[in-house]
């Protein structure tokens, strides 16, 4: 286990910022801590780095307990959101600063800096000051400063938040490539769930200081543990509909009814275990926009498909897809259609629901059923 966190809690005065966190990460893994602002992910990262103390719990890096250790002794390297490049030093000096503090001889330092600069393609920037660099270049210098330490764990604190959209995507690919090249264990904090999905081998979704779910990206995406995770991950977010269980004899179904609108019944999601639920129990039915499409595009291997006609309310052409907003039993849903789909506002359109991909949640606890 490259990183083990057990029962980690952190209080600031009377506020519990982190509540008994348990996390593990294999060597070479890429753990992403994702959650809304204020959920404690940056605080968690700072405790791993040693920049914040813990109120309770243990942090082990490669089996070694690091709770009381100074950040510089934990063999970690950190990339900050604002890059934190020293303005009064050149790029080369910035990268070499850590080695200088550890009294590494100059010749060795220069060699290491040159190697890292080559990897990140910043050789031509070595004599410049940070103020003379663009955002993406500063990012790379910050990563270079972390890389050159060859640490046990890389820590990234929202490094892409300060970049524009296009640069963010380019740098995301760079980070992923770097991870594949170096194979260093990484903990990455972000509020952007797309970054989480694309970069992680493991995702931990946090809310109000508690871990909501830990798992692989596909687990988090396809089988979210509760409503919060279901809603937070995925863009556009999962459609969540209020419905009731209808057990009329054989197969169970979900009925959606809303004031004034015609009630609609859909077959229960494939594989969902509705036996503990009584007839008429309230549930929340979740289905992602890409699981609702037009009849031709629906997945041929899907076991249960329901079709449904509904009037199109809003059409959002996004270039690669078209998002269509419609209603089922008075509740609004978003569907993802092919870019060239023939959809017109106001007209009825046939939608296909891939019920293999649907999930059910208990409205009171928020947890997934089955």
């Amino acid at each position: 286990m490259a990183l083990e966190i057990r029962g980690l809690s952190k209080r600031f005065g009377t506020v519990d910022v982190l509540k008994s966190i348990d996390l593990t990460l294999d060597k070479g893994g890429f753990l992403v801590l994702v959650g809304p602002s204020g959920c404690g992910k940056s605080t968690l990262l700072n405790t791993i780095a040693g920049l914040e103390s813990v109120s309770a719990g243990e942090i082990r890096i490669d089996g070694q307990l690091v709770n009381g250790l100074h950040p510089s002794k934990r063999d970690i390297a950190m990339v900050f959101q604002s890059y934190a490049l020293y303005p009064n030093m050149s790029v080369a000096e910035n990268i070499a600063f850590g080695m200088e503090m550890r009294k590494v001889p100059k010749a060795e330092r220069d060699k290491a800096v040159a190697l890292v600069a080559k990897t990140l393609q910043i050789e031509h920037l070595l004599d410049r000051r940070p103020s003379q660099l663009s955002g993406g270049q500063r990012q790379r210098v910050a990563m270079g400063r972390a890389l050159v330490r060859q640490p046990r764990v890389f820590l990234f604190d929202e490094p892409l938040s300060n970049l524009d959209a296009k640069l963010r995507i380019d740098m995301r690919v760079e980070i992923k490539r770097l991870h594949q090249q170096t194979g260093t264990t990484t903990v990455y904090v972000t509020h952007d769930q797309i970054e989480a999905m694309t970069l992680a081998t493991r995702i931990a979704v946090l809310k109000d200081g508690e871990v909501q779910q830990v798992g692989s990206p596909s687990e988090i995406y396809n089988t979210p543990a509760n409503l919060f995770v279901a809603d937070f991950m995925g863009s556009p977010s999962m459609n969540l509909l209020e419905g009731r269980v209808a057990k009329n004899g054989g197969a169970a179904a979900i009925t959606f009814a809303a004031d004034g609108a015609q009630p609609v019944t859909l077959a229960a999601p494939t594989g969902a275990d509705l036996s503990p639920l009584r007839d008429g129990a309230a549930v929340i039915f979740g289905i992602r926009p890409e699981a609702i499409s037009d009849l031709q595009s629906v997945d041929r291997n899907a076991k249960t498909v329901a079709t449904f006609d509904a009037p199109v309310e809003i059409v959002e052409p996004a270039g690669s897809d078209t998002f269509v907003v419609t209603r089922i039993a008075g509740q609004e849903i978003t569907a993802r259609m092919r870019a060239d789909a023939d959809v017109r506002v106001g007209q009825d359109h046939a939608f296909a629901f891939n019920l293999d991909r649907a999930v059910l949640f208990d409205p009171e606890s928020g947890n997934r059923i089955g």
């Binding site: 920049l51 950040p71 002794k73 950190m78 020293y86 600063f97 503090m101 400063r145």
Partner: protein, 313 residues
């Protein structure tokens, strides 16, 4: 008619602008005259022989230009009841006092600001509040306590001299003055640096910690090099205050250890003999010169430095 309208419309703003400009410049020249006139009179008076000063019009240009008053002021004038040495020695005393006082109080202020903002400890607001309080204490109220303390230090210095042959500076008037100014200036310098470092990105300190830098390494390699604006502000402020100080100088340094402000006062307020206005003027200009030069050269950095801290926050 319609063709002329746009022409008139185009002319209107120009007319306004010219009138406003004339008014503004007139006012500026008037105020400039009011401010520069005293200095001008001083310079002119210092370049006249005495009979021209006493006999003539204050605003008249020198008829017989002479630099004699300047030489007198610097090296030959009678200061108080001591020898005729001019203010050169006292000027040197001031420099010997000001340079260490400014350097030490700035450095300590920077350290204080660093600790108060980047190494938050329980009660840091209270400590800062108490240091701030020092800014509001009037000079006069600390004279007697300070005199007692300096007296004790002087006694200690004498003991040391008996013991190991040197007093290590304890009891020396210049050292006393440096101590007084450092202590008194610490409230202000801490305030300046604390406010500047408050807006200084803490992530830089964190990155340096992760890199393994110690407290003083962070201070020397990261904080100070990036604090140039506020260092300049503090140095200018302290220099001006300490150089122009009269109260502490006259109380704690007497005789030929006195700073230049005291010497100037003794020179001008002489009660024996004829009042040599030209020499007095020359001495006053010499005394004011350093602060004048500092402001001419670095004045804009002063404002820039103050604003730099504000904008960053």
């Amino acid at each position: 008619m319609t063709a002329a309208d746009p022409v008139i419309a185009a002319r209107e703003p120009v007319r306004h602008s010219t009138l406003t400009r004339v008014v503004i410049y007139t006012l500026l020249v008037l105020f400039a005259l009011v401010y520069i006139l005293p200095l001008g009179v001083m310079v002119m008076t210092s370049l006249k022989p005495l009979d021209e000063v006493t006999g003539g019009n204050m605003f008249a240009l020198p008829q017989a230009l002479t630099f004699e008053p300047w030489i007198q002021a610097w090296s030959e004038a009678r200061i108080g009841v001591s020898e005729t040495t001019g203010i050169s020695g006292y000027f040197l005393n001031s420099i010997k006092m000001v340079v260490p006082a400014v350097a030490i109080s700035t450095l300590l202020g920077a350290l204080n600001g660093f600790v108060l903002t980047k190494w938050r400890f329980p009660g840091h607001n209270l400590v800062f509040g108490m240091m701030l309080f020092a800014c509001f204490i009037p000079f006069q109220s600390i004279i007697i306590p300070m005199a007692v303390i300096l007296g004790n230090l002087g006694t200690f210095g004498n003991h040391l001299r008996d013991l190991i042959g040197t007093s290590l500076g304890f009891g020396d008037p210049i050292v006393n003055l440096v101590l007084v100014h450092v202590v008194y200036g610490l409230g202000f310098t801490t305030l300046f640096f604390r406010n500047y470092y408050e807006a200084f990105p803490t992530e830089l300190v964190k990155a340096a910690m992760v890199d393994g830098a110690s407290f003083f390494q962070i201070f020397r390699r990261i904080m100070l090099p990036n604090s140039m604006p506020i260092v300049i502000v503090t140095v200018i402020y302290q220099f001006t205050n300490i150089w122009n100080d009269f109260l502490f100088g006259s109380t704690f340094a007497a005789g030929d250890q006195a700073p230049m402000t005291v010497a100037l006062n003794n020179l001008v307020n002489t009660s024996t003999g004829v009042v040599e206005y030209n020499v007095n003027m020359a001495a006053a200009i010499i005394a004011a010169a350093p602060t004048l030069i500092v402001y001419i050269l670095a004045g804009r950095y002063f404002v820039r430095g103050l604003m730099a801290g504000a904008v960053k926050g």
